[in-house]
Amino acid sequence: MIIKFRLDGRDVSVEVEPNELLLNVLRDKLGVKAPKYSCGIGECGACTVLLDGEPVLSCLTLAVDANGREVTTASGIKGEEAEMLMKAFAEEGAVQCGFCTPGMFVMSYALLHEKKRPTEEEIREYLRGNLCRCTGYVNIVRGIEKVVEMGGKK
């Protein structure tokens, strides 16, 4: 069937089978490579995207389920706050191999939208569904804390 949805700010339509997963359709059919395939069973968070603004795992979401909805990947997150996050991630060394980064970035962005001034504990709690295979958690948390200190969203 043909599904239509909003992807990173543009309208897309694509032919999919019911057994296709959103992650694979994004990466292989629509060329959006930000969400990553890693565990495939909902343990690692590397495939996280926003579906109608809420973080979900695209490896466990049927592509047909995105029909008529809004999908935002790390590539589609833009604006001042996103710039601040990217800069803070770079400065704090939050990116090592980079594989978990798109998922971490989407989650950090979602967190800052939900809570203006999250504590370190709240940051760690919010990111607990995202694994970093380099184990660079401290720098990731510092990156987010830096944005919080700078006042986050204006």
Partner: protein, 302 residues
Amino acid sequence: MMSSLNRMNTRIIPFSFSYHEPTSLEEALSLLSKLGADGKILAGGTDLIVKMKARQAEPRHIINIKKIKELRYITVDEDKIRIGALATWRDLEKSSHIISRIPSLLDAASVMGGVQIRNMATIAGNICNASPAADSAPPFLVHGARVKAMSEKGARFVPIDSFFIAPGKTALMPEEMVVEIEIPLPPPSSSSAFLKLARTSMDLAKVSAAAYLKVDGGTIEEARVALGAVAPKPIRAPSVEKELIGKPATEETFKNASKHVVKDISPIDDIRSTASYRKKTSPYLVTDALLTALSRIGGEKR
């Protein structure tokens, strides 16, 4: 479930199925009655899709109920809390003003998965998946919840005690689906707690336990204890409950009663833990759950 993780291709769903997207409950029930055991309800998908990737479930028809918006609610009536089939774990957290009446369920919500899983996964799906380690099961068991199952023929209520049959198996008939979970509002001077032992809090439980207590003038009037991951299904612990009722609500009573839990459980060795570890830790977890429940009575609930 994940024991063959490294040999499993978790990238795709390796078979085809027909996809249905009913927009009303009537439509969903009519599909279910037509398809019977060939049809499988999809809600959050966090269990079902994983099983399908591993070919542990191979339904020929998927009935995605997420478009039936009226099934997504958490409300409180005079005497009960009602959780609709599409209410997610995040909805539960966000309804803490209601769910704080059922403290053990809120405990479970705070340790169930990460944010993404909690956004996707439904409470009803957690019980329908019927994992012996389901986080919602011990709280529902100690609070005497009942499950509203519906088919085209009508509705029936299944007490949670008889809902779980075996790993992955519930009392639902093939043409039935869960539409609601009802929890009676607990009386004053009562409270409950849920605890779990797991590698990390978002992981599946090695052992989990919930306790519900009603105390009158220092004496235990009502006591219910339930455990997860220590039997083929989530279970009550009648041997412990028997040793609690009528006794003073003290740590000593709890410790003595908790020892009896080994009579109620039948744990196994699996990838998450061993039978021996589960037997050794269960009494302590039960004691801690009882102490936490007691500490919430009278004082702030959570």
